[in-house]
Symmetry: C2
């Protein structure tokens, strides 16, 4: 069974699956600005798209595009500006 | 608006989006065997997982894993055996 989750009025949707080692999702973010909360350590990789990300404890926005990834600690939040519709891969540990 | 599609009794789900150049989906295939029909030229990339694929006009199964891709012509079909739950990226041209 594959669970689909929707966030931010359906502007972000993801499909959960079991990766080789970790619980994983792939999803798509529509154009917009979002603040994601984390409950676990997350490693997010841009599959196809373009994001500006402000990581916890930083003041600068960093651009991430195809194949680039960033990590976020558990129990914090990070801000994302989606430049074009973006597919992402995220593992939870 | 992000459209989610389900196939094969919900064993394959995908989210459609507009890629930089082409209509694109990301999705997840559950473990199983599926025959996909194509209406357009498709380029499928394994994001995270493991597939055995029998392409049109071939008799051999080929293994595809993370980062590997294959192309399928329009108006044909291809067979997939999903070894573990697999996230994929697909463009349509």
């Amino acid at each position: 069974m594959l669970n689909v989750n929707s966030y931010f009025d359906d502007k972000v949707k993801s499909i959960a699956f079991q990766g080789q080692e970790l619980a994983t999702t792939v999803g798509v973010m529509d154009i917009g600005e979002f603040t994601f909360g984390t409950s676990q350590f997350e490693t997010m990789t841009v599959i196809d798209g373009e994001l500006d990300v402000k990581l916890p404890g930083t003041e600068n926005w960093q651009r991430f595009t195809n194949g680039e990834q960033f990590e976020v600690a558990a129990n914090t939040s990070f801000d994302v500006k989606v430049i074009r519709q973006t597919a992402y891969h995220c593992t939870y540990a």
